[in-house]
Symmetry: C2
Subunit: 396 residues, 2 copies
């Protein structure tokens, strides 16, 4: 054992892991929530989640699948019925033809994003991202040893907007992808069709991937769905679209999502699923078929519910003197600036302690989110009204 | 746009992904299965899966959890009831004290292994692995840009055995972990307590991790459980033990597993779950509590069923002139050498075409598996007897 050496573990330092992983930030949303979960009477609006459980017709489908013995491994890319249902669904929604060979089922939108970065990112590569942004998207890149280059939305009279030239200028020779979450968490920003086409055209020229997180595509208040990169992309374009059952069908705890990607990526994604998780839970996939095939009335009712909640929240916040916000056209968040607040994490903790209302600090969504708070309005009017009453003194 | 350049995408090459990912081998088990799934009357013994659905008492627990509205996000490390149930279970099984702070629930044993490699592996690092081995374990290392160094078990009169000196000699300055799957898939090899202690001692001295895949720890025929690294490790030792609900409780399609690791890794694994999948499916976790708390009679009956299947299969194979095998003391595979067979993939395909019996080729488990076939005997005696009747002419 002459070559014995402990290159990374020094006595007393404990088991060593990659410095990059040790340095991963914990969620600042969780930092507030962890305090609040130990308190009584808190109105928690910190997570991006509805307050209602999954609708009965989807639960029943899962129960039926269990009773039918659907407890075995499935195809790595998901059961054929679900892939076909998703191809049909997207075809109908966007009025385009989506071949089933482009569809891979995943264990959540989150996992789909991680599989994507595993396919793309070598250490030193970078991904250009539009921020403020849900932090998990950038951390998937960091886990693979890549870097992220934030390009900030601008907040103005008409809400949030993106300067495309700044996006394009942020790309260099080590850029592998432009990652866009539209409709966006936390801002509710929605990229326009013409902006999507310009990004697609740019990425085609430069040989870059578009990684599009479109999980809020149905939570939209002025049209049936948000513009999707799938509407403009050719099947073989380097476009990787992530979607999820969590928001459209209130299935956050189910962990089911899907990827739409070029056909050539199909066998690759089969392997990535195999080596990450095999496939999503089998009877959950069967329930997914029911959600997609029979879920339109539920989606419509949900969006109506969120629209009323949005209007209630934005009206009340608009009356508070320190608050500045634009009414979001999509997603289920009010992401508002608070005058004089320069540490949103400390402020969110103080709000929690003083009012019992749990919000997410803007800094959880990157440095460009500082000065803001995020309130998830996927909740009942009574609960929201009570929360806003409690918040008013601190924000007026 | 003067710096426009497409460094990795050349016209006509299609969307580019990491060369390492493009080069990942597809499963050779799937290569046989994909042919067989299009055929009628095939007896498929290729996957590592029981032929019976999950027992009713576990299904009912999932249905109850759904009805109770357990469809929301959970703690990243899993619901507290499940982490406590697992700590109790391991404590009782091994006669040791396992603190709940060491337990993290994951979306399958597979996913647990991927999270582990994400924590450990930088490009150029290596992991020493005992082979023949289920290929997924090595591919997780490759996805993270690491290398694997195989150390082969020796097949002799007494079955499979490991030369510890060869294992230790394979470690160098870039080795981050020794990865051991015991009881082993495909061989059924079971590492002894004294071997585990020697490996642990070596890894302590060298500052290496032990990554132990112990998912077959309950599928053992000569004792209540296989030796576990948890029995000898101190809580703070760099030992990362992966387990799963798939084999012990016949829950392959549920995607539920867990990690037992040093307490210091807890917050890190919370982040890794968050950025990979958030947490396993919520009502699946609730069913997991029932499996762990009430599953012992089922485990006992299952092992008895597999023992009878093993005896039937080994007796029949033992009568075939070209077959050489050792009766496995654990797991549910007969991994046998076939005299004169030098291409197990081609041979498995020919067997499938000629006999309608689906086996896994030994080469699916690395170069050291060549010359062998794997038969999963987690199946009914009638089905196994019929398969063996069909196989006999080709193997005699």
């Amino acid at each position: 054992m002459g070559k014995a050496r402990g290159p990374r573990r020094r006595p007393g330092t404990g088991p060593s892991i990659r410095p990059r992983i040790a340095a991963l930030p914990a969620s600042r949303i969780r930092e507030v929530a962890d305090v609040g979960m130990a308190m009584d009477g808190v109105i928690a609006l910190w997570f991006g989640e509805t307050d209602l459980p999954t609708p009965e017709f989807i639960n029943r489908a899962a129960t039926r699948a269990l009773a039918a013995g659907h407890t075995f491994y499935t195809d790595n890319r998901g059961i054929p019925e679900l892939r076909e249902a998703l191809a049909d669904y997207m075809g109908g929604l966007y009025g385009i033809d989506v071949g089933v060979e482009r569809v891979t089922v995943t264990a959540s939108g989150m996992n789909a994003l991680m599989l994507g970065q595993q396919c793309l990112i070598e250490p030193g590569d970078n991904v250009v991202v539009v921020v403020p942004l849900w932090p998990n998207l950038v951390e998937t890149v960091h886990i693979m040893g890549g870097e992220t280059r934030p390009v900030a939305l601008t907040f103005g009279e008409g809400g949030w907007s993106l300067d495309l030239d700044r996006l394009f200028d942020a790309c260099d020779d080590r850029t592998r992808a432009v990652m866009i979450n539209s409709p966006g968490n936390p801002t509710g920003w929605m990229m326009s069709a013409s902006e999507q086409r310009a990004v697609l055209e740019f990425c085609r020229r430069r040989g870059l991937w578009v990684v599009a997180d479109e999980v809020y595509d149905r939570i939209v208040y002025d049209r049936p769905h948000a513009p999707s990169f799938l509407e403009w992309a050719e099947p073989d374009d380097a476009v990787f679209v992530v979607n999820s059952f969590s928001k459209s069908w209130s299935m956050t705890g189910w962990r089911l999502g899907w990827i739409t990607a070029p056909p050539a990526l199909g066998p690759v994604l089969a392997k990535m699923n195999e080596y990450n998780i095999a496939a999503p839970t089998t009877f959950v996939q069967h329930a997914g078929v029911t959600a997609v095939r029979e879920g339109e009335p539920f989606v419509a009712a949900t969006v109506e519910r969120y629209r009323r909640a949005r209007d209630l929240v934005c009206r009340a916040l608009g009356d508070m003197a320190r608050v500045r916000l634009a009414v979001p056209r999509a997603a289920f968040y009010a992401f508002f600036a608070v005058e004089g607040m320069d540490d949103s994490l400390a402020f969110a903790k103080r709000l929690l302690a003083e009012t019992g209302v749990g919000l997410a600090p803007g800094s959880a969504f990157g440095a460009h989110g500082e000065g803001h708070l995020r309130l998830c309005f996927a909740s009942s009017p009574e609960r929201l009204a009570q929360a806003l009453d409690r918040l008013a003194p601190a924000l007026s």
